[in-house]
């Protein structure tokens, strides 16, 4: 069988942690891991041949001769540090379950080849929260012993912190499959999901909104665990720009929807605030109204 991983270099790494991300809602996980990759000045060392899983992104033809075909990249980077790290960034998620499972295995096999015993994935948690609140990070470990480790972390919550329904949920795409496959292979894994307000996840004007606030929350949760410190100033500048954009969009929503969404300012998963938290019925009503609004084309008020 064809080896689907191309190794450009074989760095010497000691028990590295593997951190993986793909595009998803608000590109939250991808932006966090990509930022980490850039700030840590990592070095690319391997990639997955992605042509079996994706349609080509582009073709290069010169004077009538096919020169090159470009596919969505799936690359590995490393950083030697107090805690050695392998970062993996995928440019696209495959559609088929079989392909998702294949890629998850390829990613983990590279990690295992370098002695990796722990994996982190990062993504988005669509939540009924307001955009003026700091996004929390939902941590989902792949085994019991990691629960105590993530419990009580600053701004980090477990699914069980969310009330009665909290113990159940799902992680779509590679973020979940990678952790499940890691468990099968005996690796510890934690998925960190940065909260994105449900209505931001629905904004698409003219392209899906990015939500760097949540990426920052993920990085704040992740970096101490990786024993690295990074400068967040660039991300903060981007957050400031995005906040203005989001606020403008918010102000252009119909007043009735804004009033409903304003209730989300008092939402909390961990414990009730002094102000009365919204009820589950109200939460569902808000979600329904926002969904209806966007289903109708999401026309913004002038």
């Amino acid at each position: 069988m064809e080896n689907m991983v191309v190794m450009h270099k074989k760095p010497e790494l000691k028990d590295p942690y593997l951190i993986a991300a793909w595009p998803g809602i608000g590109n939250i996980g991808l932006m966090a891991v990509n930022y980490l990759k850039n700030r840590l000045e990592t070095e690319e060392f391997a990639e997955i041949k992605s042509y079996p899983y994706f349609f080509p992104k582009s073709i290069t033809i010169k004077n009538g001769i096919l020169q090159h075909m470009d596919f969505p990249s799936h690359k590995f980077y490393y950083k030697k540090a107090e805690q050695d790290l392998i970062l993996f960034l995928g440019e696209m998620q495959p559609k088929e379950e079989e392909e998702i499972y294949d890629i998850a295995n390829h990613v983990l096999d590279v990690g295992i080849a370098f002695g990796c015993k722990r994996v982190y994935t990062a993504g988005a948690a669509v939540a009924p929260i307001h955009h003026t609140l700091k996004p929390k990070v939902w941590a989902v470990p792949n085994n019991e012993k990691l629960i105590n480790e993530v419990k009580g972390g600053e701004n980090i919550i477990l699914m069980s912190n969310m009330g009665e329904k909290g113990r159940q949920g799902s992680i779509s795409g590679l973020n979940g499959v990678l952790l499940g496959t890691a468990k099968r292979k005996g690796l510890d894994g934690i998925c960190l999901l940065g909260e994105i307000p449900i209505y931001i996840a629905q904004f698409s004007v003219p392209y899906p909104m990015l939500y760097p606030n949540a990426s920052k929350s993920i990085l704040e949760a992740l970096t101490p665990r990786l024993k690295v410190e990074i400068d967040l100033s660039r991300l903060n500048s981007f957050i400031t720009r995005t906040e203005t954009e989001i606020e403008n969009l918010y102000q252009s929503l119909p007043m009735q929807i804004q009033e409903e969404l304003d209730k989300l300012k008092y939402e909390t998963y961990v414990k009730p605030t002094a102000l009365e938290p919204i009820t589950d019925e109200e939460k569902e009503k808000i979600i329904k109204e926002v969904e209806e609004f966007f289903k109708k084309g999401g026309k913004i008020n002038d």
């Binding site: 899983y53 349609f55 582009s58 073709i59 004077n63 009538g64 096919l66 075909m69």
Partner: protein, 261 residues
């Protein structure tokens, strides 16, 4: 799935897809099969490659995806007429190439429409892309545009050509101009231009008169549209004189042709 092994020595394998701009590839094969006797001998079964949970209906008929190989033993030619797969494309194209290798195919040709700003009344150019440089010389004597340069989105044929290259199977993609306002329907002029090339290339005895009638009919209809709708007539005249149209003008032509034809 191979139903029968045809007697072929080193055949050319020509592939065409549906959907396709101007339905060129599909229509070329339909026309060819109405004129010369070929035999279906293999197919790629649709399960896994096409959405089968909802079967489409068009022109009162059930539309079911198919991907079939037809042999023309006398001409040492194989045609592959297929819907474009939407899932596991790499696997699908590999099945195609496995059969091509089993048949010891000499070269793979693909046929497709290229959405263009050419007017329907104008001569259609055929552009070629080869995956092996020497093929350019081989087709050098035909009226083809062999120096296309492009960097950007690709197609099923482009992907197939690249995969064939990885297996060292020579291949050429043939792309014919299809006016943007005919891209969603049959373009008989594009079909005829491709057939003229194939006829010469493979010495096929194919009568193209029926296509001439279709071309005439389509041109008459569009001429009538131009008369009845002077605004569209003006834009069409611009196209015929190679004047660039604004997007809005092109959209108006598309809508008018869609409603009228």
């Amino acid at each position: 799935m191979i139903k029968k092994t045809p007697v072929l020595s080193a055949p050319f394998l020509i592939a065409g897809w549906k959907p396709d701009a101007g339905e060129v590839g599909w229509n070329v094969f339909e026309y060819l099969s109405s004129q010369i006797q070929g035999e279906e001998f293999a197919e790629i079964e649709p399960l896994g490659f096409f959405p089968l949970n909802e079967v489409q209906i068009a022109n009162d008929l059930v539309q079911f995806p198919e991907a079939k190989f037809y042999a023309y033993e006398e001409k040492d030619l194989v045609l592959f007429k297929s819907y474009q797969p939407t899932s596991k494309i790499y696997k699908f194209l590999n099945l195609f190439l496995d059969l091509a290798e089993n048949l010891k195919v000499k070269e793979i040709y693909t046929i497709g429409g290229l959405i263009s700003t050419v007017a329907h009344t104008k001569e259609r150019k055929i552009y070629t892309v080869v995956n092996t440089p020497y093929l350019k010389e081989e087709i050098g004597n035909y009226p083809l545009q062999t120096n296309l340069s492009h960097e950007g989105p690709t197609s099923m044929s482009g992907f197939l050509l690249w995969m064939a290259m990885k297996r060292y199977i020579p291949g050429i993609s043939f792309w014919i101009d299809v006016p943007f306002y005919l891209s969603g329907r049959v373009d008989p002029k594009a079909t005829k231009t491709i057939l003229e090339f194939l006829k010469t290339r493979f010495k096929l005895s194919v009568d193209l008169k029926l296509l001439d009638q279709e071309i005439e009919k389509q041109e008459e209809k569009i001429a009538l549209l131009n008369t009845q709708n002077p605004e569209i007539g003006e834009y069409m005249a611009k196209l015929e004189n190679n004047v660039n149209l604004a997007q809005e003008e092109m959209d108006k032509i598309i809508n008018a042709v869609e409603n009228y034809l």
